[in-house]
Each structure stands twice: as C-alpha cells, then as structure tokens.
C-alpha cells in the first residue's frame, strides 16, 4: 500500500534518524574536549538553539507547502542566484554522505572487520542506501519506522546498564570556573544536531498541520536527550580527561559494561549491529537530500530523477576512501557541519525575509 503522505510520526522517526548517525560515536569525546565535565550542558544549550533554528526552517518550508528546499531557493532567488545559494548545501549533503560512511567504515575496520578492504564496506553501504533512496521517500520512511525503535531500545539499554556503574562525582564541580568553555561549546553542540534540516526536504511530502510540527520537535528532542545522556554516562564512566582520549566512546562504553559473565556479557555486539543501522538511516536521509539538490541544480527532468541516485555512487566512493587517516576524517566532518550551521543561520532567514517582502508587495498590487 502506498501512502499518500508522511504521517506526523514518520516525520519524527525520519528527523531523529537523520540527526543520529555516525556522530553518535563521536559526540561525547568532542564535547569533553571542548567543555570538560560540563560538555553535556553545552550539548543541551546547543539543542535549544537547534530547536529554534529548526522552527525557522519549518516556518520557511510551511510558506511553500508544495516545494522542498532546492525548489524554494530557485523560486525565491531566481535560476542563477538560487543555484548559487544552493551550492553550499548541495556540497555539504553530498560530502557528508561520503564522510560519514568513511568514518563508519574506519570504526568498523577497527572493531570488527580488520581485513575487509574499506572500499568494500563503503560500497555496500552506498548500494543499500542508494537503493532505499531510489525507492522513494515513503520506502525510506518505512525503513526508518522499522529501524528507529531498535536503535532507541539499544540506546536505552546501553545508558541504563552503564549509568549505574559510573560515578556521579566525576561530573562535579558543575559549571565551576568553566562557563566560558561551556559557552564556547554551544555552537559545536548545535552542530551535532544538523540533521534537523531534513525537514526542508520531507515537509512537502507530509500531512501538513500542527501535529506535524509537534512530532518534528519530538524528533529533534529525542537525539538531544540521548546525546546528553550518552555524554553524561561517558563522563561518569571514563572521567572528562579520560574521555578526551577515547576515540569512539559509545563503542568503548558498550565494551566496558561490567556484568557477571553469565548474562549479556556481549552487549557490545548488539550495540555494534544497531549502530550500523543508525548510520545507514542517517546516510539515507542525507543521500536523499543530496540527490534532490543535484536533481534541481542540474535541472534533471522528474522522470529521470530517481536514476541519478545511482549515478553518483562512484564519486561518493572515491570521496569516501580518499582520506585514510581517522583523525583527519573526524576533523573534516566537524568542519563540514559548519557549512550547514551557516546555511541555517543566514540563508534560511534571508529566504524567509525575501518571501515575506515579495508576498506583501504582491498583495499590495
């Protein structure tokens, strides 16, 4: 049965899936590096900012209920200017897919598949993701509906089993002589949630209404809560200075659950498996956004649009295996997210203002 439009709950799962992703492995370490044991506060503040920024994007797309982001750019700014302003987003979504699969593959190589060549892992991920995107937004939403609860349950179990073995005093002193660093961490905190802009691509397929907005906000709140929780638990288990030295804290956390060996000794296996699906779901969302951007940018006709999904697999593969150094890849993905922050911070308000001015003048006429 084919749905006519995305249900509000599906907006939630799609948004949350897009925000989670390979970053779930990296968030605690990044935040501890910036703000020490108060990193979780920065994440929370960044989360509040992301809710505000997300509302702005939502307002913009609700002005154009039938169009998604690339179309809106063209409509508002015209063919040339629209394309220019689209370009950063296009590059961002495109490169993000490659980079996140690269970091994913690097972690997988370290933990599970030490002899599998990196191109094989990335290619498989790309093929599966491309196929889901080729099938269309409704298939993607259904896949997220299936995977998201599993991801959520695993994360809950991970937090629940490790929070009791951590020590609360590693979080203290809270906000002592550290508030400047916490404030410095707000923007990087906001960066962790950049997937929220997926609404700009899926809103036109959704059932419009207040409930959609509500579930969209829930979809952002869930990652905010879990990122904060996981960062908290990581600090409680590894201490803030110790956490700075842990490359993939979430996986290491799952490997340090201290249980009697009779029961669930290998919980990390579940985490590893579910985490693959988390990366897949997020990659899928970005892949979709990238393919939409490219289709509009090059003016591909709508009947051929779904095939271009496969066209840029080789390019993505090359991008993904270009940089073999783990630390450099992690740095690159952090830089990359800055682009999205700029787009959400400047382009979106600009588009809203222009739209409102245009509409007002047309009413006067």
């Amino acid at each position: 049965m084919k749905d006519d439009s995305l249900r509000p709950v599906q907006i939630m799962t799609l948004t949350a899936s897009a925000i989670f992703g390979v970053d779930i492995l990296l968030v605690p370490q990044r935040m501890a590096r910036i703000a020490g044991q108060d990193g979780w506060i920065s994440l929370g503040l960044g989360g509040l900012l992301s809710l505000a920024s997300a509302s702005l994007i939502y307002y913009l797309v609700s002005l154009y209920p039938e169009d998604d982001m690339p179309n809106i750019c063209i409509k508002v700014l015209g063919r040339l200017l629209g394309r220019i302003i689209m370009l950063p987003t296009l590059l961002y979504t495109f490169i993000y897919v490659a980079l996140s699969f690269r970091i994913f593959a690097q972690a997988l190589l370290t933990f599970l598949l030490d002899r599998t060549p990196i191109y094989a892992i990335v290619l498989l991920m790309l093929l599966v993701t491309a196929y889901a995107v080729y099938k269309g937004i409704y298939t993607m939403a259904s896949v997220c509906d299936l995977l998201f609860p599993l991801a959520l349950i695993t994360l809950i179990v991970l937090v629940a089993t490790t929070i009791s073995q951590g020590r609360l005093d590693y979080l203290r002193p809270i906000l002592f002589d550290n508030s400047d660093k916490v404030l410095k961490g707000v923007l990087p905190g906001l960066q962790e949630y950049t997937g929220y802009s997926i609404i700009a691509y899926i809103y036109s397929h959704s059932q419009k209404g207040a409930r959609t907005y509500k579930w969209y906000m829930v979809g952002i709140l869930i990652p905010i809560i879990f990122y904060m929780l996981i960062t908290l638990v990581c600090i409680m288990n590894f201490t803030a200075p110790g956490l700075e030295g842990v490359l993939y804290p979430t996986l290491t956390l799952s490997k340090s659950i201290e249980y009697t060996p009779l029961f669930m000794e290998r919980l990390e296996a579940f985490v590893a498996v579910i985490w693959i699906s988390i990366v897949f779901a997020s990659g899928m969302a970005y892949y979709y956004a990238a393919s939409r951007n490219i289709a509009v940018f090059f003016g591909v006709k709508s009947q051929y649009e779904r095939y271009i999904v496969f066209a840029f697999i080789p390019l993505l593969l090359i991008l993904a295996i270009l940089e073999p150094n783990v630390l450099k890849s992690i740095k690159q993905i952090t830089y990359l997210k800055t682009i999205q922050i700029l787009v959400a911070g400047f382009v979106v308000p600009l588009l809203i203002v222009i739209t409102l001015i245009k509409r007002r003048s047309s009413i006067k006429k």
Binding site: T110, F111, L112, L113, D114, R115, T116, P117, A120, R167, D169, Y170, R172, P173, F176, D177, N237, F238, T239, P241, G242, G245, T252, K255, S256, I257, E258, E268
Partner: protein, 408 residues
Amino acid sequence: MKKLVLLLMILSLLITTACWDMIDIEKRAYVLGVAIDLYPPNPKGREGDKSEARQEEEMPLEKTGLYNGRPEYALTVQIPILQKAQSSSFSGGGGDPESDATWQITQIGNSFISMNLEMATRTNLIPYYEHLQAIILSEDVARAGLKNVIDFFVRDPEMGRRVNIYVSHGEAKKVLDVNPRTEDYSSIYLSQIHRNTRKTSRMVEKAGLNKMLNNIDLGLDFILPAIQSTKDEIKSNGAAIFKKDKMVGWLDELELEAVKFILNRYNKGLITVTSSAMDNAIIALDIGKSKTKIKTSIENDLPRFDIDIEVSGSYAENTRVYTQGDQDIDLHKTLEKDFEKEIVSLCENTIKKMQEEYGVDIFEFKQLLRTREPAYWKEVKNKWEDLYPKIIVKVKARVKIDLIGLTS
C-alpha cells in the same frame, strides 16, 4: 525475465559465500590471562630464585626499532588447549606440561605489540584477546610504573575495559602456572575470586582496567588487588598502593578494611575486640551493613574531613565462655563502644600511615576537595603534595549490635 532473476540469484550466492575476516573458532588462541614481568625476572639480590622458563620460551626478539639493546619485559600469555580441557579437569593436573589444560607462552621484548606478534610466529593459532580475563603485573613492573605497560591494553581494539588487573607478590608468570582444583584455567579462577567480596571486605572488589584508567586520568592515587600464589591456589592478599601510576607499597588485609570503611565500599566482614568488661574475652562482630559519610570543610586554611562510619552487625563469637546467659543490654552498649574504638583506631592508624609513610591519598580526599570545594582546590592544587600530610581527618564510628545469634 524470471529466468534472468533466478540466474542472478544463483550467481549472487556464489559471491556472497564467505566473510573476509572469518577465522575458525578452533584456530584462535583465546588468551585468558596475561602476566607481565620484568626481564630478567629477578634483578637485584634475588638471582638465586631462577625462572623456570624453558629455553625455547625465551627466544630473543627480532631486532626492530623497538629493540633498544636489551629486553625489558617478559610477557606471558595463557592459552587454553581446548582438546585437553575436558579430560584434564578430572586428572588434577600437577604441573606436568603434558597434562596441562593450558599453555603459557613467554616472550621477552620491549613493546607489547611486538612481543605479541613475535608470539604469533611460534604458535599455529592466532592470539585473540576479546576474552581476556586477567592482567597480572609483577611487583617490579608495578613499581616501574604502569604507563609503560597499559597502552597496548587500552589501544588494541580487541581489549575490553572490564579486564581485571592484579599485582602479584613475586613473579607474575607463576600465578598463571597455578593449577587450581576447581577450575581448569588459573586466569578464570583468579578473575572470580573477587566475587567473595560479598562475604568479606579483606580483599579488593573487582578492579577493572577502566577504574584504574579513571584514577590515572584524574591523577588520583589508588589501590589494586594484590595476589599471592602457591602450586594450586591463588590468594587475594591485601592490595598494592599506587601513587599516580607507580606502586609504592603494600596494604595488608586489615588496613584494606579500613580503606574500604572510609571509601564506603565496605560490604561484609569481621571486627574483633578484646573486651575488658568481659574478662578480656575476644569478641567478634559480624558486620552486616556499613555506611560512611564524609563531610568536607576548610578549617584555618587546611582541609578538614569528618568521616562518619555507621555500622550494624551481629555478635558472632565470644572466645571466653560457652554462653553468657545474662542478657545484659548494658554489656552490649559497652561492647558497641569497644567496637567503635577499634574501628576508629584502625582507620586513624591507616590514614596516618598513608599520610606519613607513603604520602599517598588512596582515600580520594583529593577528589572530594576537587568536587566539593572547587574554589579552595584551585588555590591548593599545585601544593597538594605538601598539604596532604597536614590535612585534618576526624573519624567517628557508630556501631549497633542487632542480632546475637542463638545464645544470649
């Protein structure tokens, strides 16, 4: 079209048959325990105590860049011989290499990864560390510092952070050679001893790699379980005291009890007093519950810690008479006072010893100051070493005797 799809499906079966990284389970050498000694094992004044390592187990390391003239460490890993595991559990072992259920391989060298790879050239199996149970360090290794040793065990992705760490009196390798009666593998036997902390507080509870790393990362002093081995048993024997990452001394079992009182990690255990009220009889209190609260304050620019230990337990044994028969509640009151004095003096003596003899803060006073008095800590953190022997610690204990067994 249908035939084409069928053909594609069959073809895909051909290319999706195996995993790149597959290693058969019987091809893996599941390393259960690791023992790290200094090489040569007995450097100063103890040369007579010869290592029993066979010649072929000490094959020299290839001269790589890591080799700086002489090997520093001897790494011994314990690998189960799976074929023999079943039969030997009934034969009782006895040190005969033919009937052992495990194989201890020793390799000397400077870096642990290179020793590990060197070992791989000597076995037909592939060393695999996912199921590592115990890391045993010899006293000399611990005194030389942990930072030289732990990186391999933290960095290698096969290692988990829940592996237990021990410091052995004497050679670490000997602990792996133990042939326990109730268990096939000494490493597993060793890693299960700490479960008895639910019965006694005279040994350290599970001391995982993660906890140790946390202490090193925060710059805290800490303790690790100390062990001693004979031919067929291993004893958890007090603790080794670490200042930063270097071992500085031993803690005996009674002192360990005091440390656990102060750290609020006391589970169950026994306290004995000689009671003057009862004709110098030795009375034992079986502690069922213990709770410690520490209050931190600053007094005359010195940190002050008020330790309040609340203990309840049962009157377990009286060595003087078979039965008292007087049901004297006042007597119990005096006994409670005696126990309180005993606990306080035990704790105070231990604290004093740590302050004056070793200058180590295994009671985590530093962490208390850092988290509860951050402003004060910021002032003194650079002179903490000088400050520590001067800090004021007041111990108070409250003991309640709840049950008295079956005689009154």
